[in-house]
Subunit: 217 residues, 6 copies
């Protein structure tokens, strides 16, 4: 039967899901897995605080349990990788978190990588996570652009800030690759890579790439 990858946007902002869907379009191949992107209706508008992260854990596990029999691999499309381990416990299918996949992919692109986050409050959570993955010796830095998830609609302001922060990470912190630290940043990847002239990883693309392998193998 046809294979399917389910990409779960745990925030309830449909435009973020739409942007994710656009970002993964190049990964849709005629003979390849269907890539279905869904919005978690019960999620907050943006996942910014630890409480937001926690609030979507059980709903994500519920989706995973429900869709287990018609999905080959899951992607949790929020840079906090909320509920990743609970989801992995809930199914025998492979589950990918976009932060984990994004960072692993960045490791193939440069000696050290850095993360552009949305809010300062996200950074300590990211640092804890990077350390839990044992990847901290490869992290050059993590800096925020100071905009919440729902503020990412102002394209030129976002590009301006991402370019400034990315340049600082590249020049002062020694980053050789960038990971965009929010699924809602997806549509900026190409422009940012042109602006910074170092590789930029869109983490949902990274996770879906790994998921394609999981689904096919």
């Amino acid at each position: 039967m046809p294979q399917r990858i389910l990409v779960i946007n745990p925030n309830s902002t449909q435009s973020v899901t739409d942007h994710i869907d656009d970002a993964v379009q190049p990964l849709r191949m005629e003979g390849g897995p269907e890539i279905e992107c869904m919005t978690l209706a019960e999620g907050p508008a943006g996942i910014e605080s630890q409480a937001d992260v926690e609030s979507v854990v059980q709903p994500i596990s519920q989706v995973v349990r429900t869709r287990d029999n018609d999905t080959d691999a899951f992607v949790i499309a929020c840079y906090s990788d909320p509920g990743l381990h609970a989801a992995r416990e809930a199914t025998r299918r492979r589950v990918f978190g976009i932060a984990e996949s994004g960072m692993l992919t960045a490791l193939t692109l440069g000696e050290r990588f850095a993360v552009i986050s949305i809010l300062a409050a996200s950074v300590p959570r990211h640092l804890r996570y990077v350390r839990s993955l044992g990847l901290d010796s490869r992290l050059a830095g993590d800096l925020p652009i100071g905009l919440g998830v729902t503020e990412l609609s102002d394209d030129s302001k976002v590009m301006e800030r991402m370019t400034a922060v990315g340049g600082r990470l590249r020049d002062e912190f020694g980053a050789h690759a960038i990971v965009m630290g929010c699924a809602g940043m997806a549509r900026f990847r190409d422009r940012l890579e042109d602006a910074l002239d170092i590789p930029v990883v869109e983490p949902t693309q990274a996770a879906v790439t790994m998921a394609i392998g999981a689904a096919r193998l």
Copy 2:
């Protein structure tokens, strides 16, 4: 006004709360903070799986928010430290997790420490956590006794297994101190330390100790 430390047992097994209460009795001092131990009625009987851990996160945050105005410091008395960061976000009071406090205390007792866990399934979760704390170079090992939280009532079987596992951690893995990896093991500390002849940390005692400082300062 009198100070108070609230120790939250997130599993719903009253006997575990009772044993925790006994364990912290020596820390009750006239003129010192009241130490109140509560059972989270909506928690599972034992916290063993990742799903169990996740299920108590929001209830713990709720307790913390509710009790914020009459409590000086909180202790989450489950070795998975569930919801520690969510709880810290929910209050300006200090919040301690018994695993974090237990391990930090063990660092003052020996060059390397080891953890005796209840189930094999807990161990990967603990290893991730130790790494997230940056303490992995001090961890000698983490081995399970193969009993669930609610099976800890068979005293002699538990002592036998803890002594065997602890001896292995000491002799084969090079541990100089042990941290008991489940709040429900509290009553075995003294006997285990006698049996192993190396320091044994009861993590709830360690956390309440740190909480006393937080409450008084």
Copy 3:
């Protein structure tokens, strides 16, 4: 124009290339990149010593330069990842080494991974490499089966040894996932995973998976 991934087997043993080709067959999708597997005729029969590794570095760079204009991504299919950095310098296309990709993929499968190598002499080289990648805190162990690349044709002996070594890595070293440390082991993945009951990564599959993303994005 159609996309292409070029998988380079740097040893000159055609049967190894054939096995690699079989291993990546599930990753061939209609509408997806062509996956071409080639044998480096000037390579040694097996890459076992450091001298063997060094001998294929410049030939690999030469292939990469020659094929740059009709290939979207390259995979170096030898667990020593020979010439990976030289190849990355030689082209703007993405280049993947199967050891690096295999280990990064293993990180999504378990808290710690281990490697089954062919010869004892390979192990120090692998350990240096894991450390250079900053992944050493996630490595549980690396043990050899004591057979050279060209001896991998005796199926039952190889399976027997891989199962024994894998079991030891799982039970004594605490591995939660295995990476097969030689491209020539490719055909054993499924059987080994069944025998060990923990995830087993075939590293060429892991690298081609990442390469598909690189080619499509």
Copy 4:
């Protein structure tokens, strides 16, 4: 019999001992251990050089041996933790060093901590020590205010410098918590925490907190 914690100021400056005594006053509880603060008469006026550190090691061990039968726990109140391991060898009682305890406590307050030291010459010694404790991945930085122990009497100058250095550690180095790197800074804790708006640990308070637990358990 009543419990006692002996806090040893290894420098011979009585005003430092007086400030330490004030700092630990909140930890005195009617039913709790007596907290006795003593000055090591034979110590130097300030412990600033490695030679100073070494000069107090044997005197501290001597105090510990002498007071072993009427003391339940010892605290060495100098940020170099001089003679900590010799003291631990000299008694079965628990011995705490304020640097170790201060840093362990800081780990419960923020994702990364930083130290404000007195002199530049102290910093390499601190860095060696942090690494020996395995805590270096949690250290954001360590900067000096450029004043010796006996120069800490100029309140406004000290506050000005500590605030400037602390702000730099917070803003440039990414510290989420500060540890004051000299027992003689004790009285500045509250003011510094107000000024910096991040948690500030007074390390003698941290050590006495841990010592209370050791004495009571």
Copy 5:
């Protein structure tokens, strides 16, 4: 029979070999090993890219094999330590790489060391190498002066840049010792140490020092 240390300059620039020969002159002792410095005629003028590094690996192994019977220890005098492991496989004699020896020596001189490199492109390669050696926690930084090997002939420009970069590594990055990251910088050691007032290691001197021990023991 008389002992000999063979120092191989893998680039073909005779003046670099001459400067290395001058640098090791103080290590020539009447009763000590002969120190022979040779130029690898087939090497590139300067080793700057990864391709340059790879191009000299097999020639170096060939020299080592050829000279094995009349040489007691070998030194590879290029800061990329090209072919170090292949050379060690090719002989039972001891082989030293100047980067490895330089960094090991720097560890005895200060709490953290930094490297002054020639080109920005060298830095990622160095960082990978430091990590492979497990020395990354002692590395304060690595910055380039932006001059190629063959541009090192302009004495005053090189001194000016090395002093500026070294000062930055000392003051901003916290280095307590410097390792000069190119054999061609050899003649600047004394002047740079005077200018920076912190120890400066000339890595070929460090490697020959270790080689003398290897030859004599």
Copy 6:
């Protein structure tokens, strides 16, 4: 004027000094530095406890200050490297500790090294030290032979135990090189290396080697 290296045996056992003197004999070269070995008369017979280590710190600093004007480099010949940092503060000359030098030398000999210690009580002290040096990722293990310094006179017993322990470190712990963890073991190096068939570092030889470079440069 002639150069001199002063090797200080901080224990008062003359036979240990005699064995050290024999061990460094190959490093005496005509035209090279004089290598003077002295016994610290006021030291304990053997340095085994932390108290022993502390007891020789100030006497060593005193020797260094006294001999500063006629010595070019100092070696502290006790595997605890007692007073190394105090000595470095006391003189502008280079000071080497045999443990530090021994381990740094071992890093050039194998991917991971292990230490054969005399007593179990030494091991925690060594582990702390290795971590303070940032070398812990290269340490395979550290095991004791269970004999005190003054018991090392029974040659066949010592060889038997060192061979057993060394073999265990090689086969079970994955060591590729051994460092002998006590200056008093010096005379066993050659026999042990023959028995174990992996490189064995005699740490005083390693330190004097580095000191020769320091004296000559």
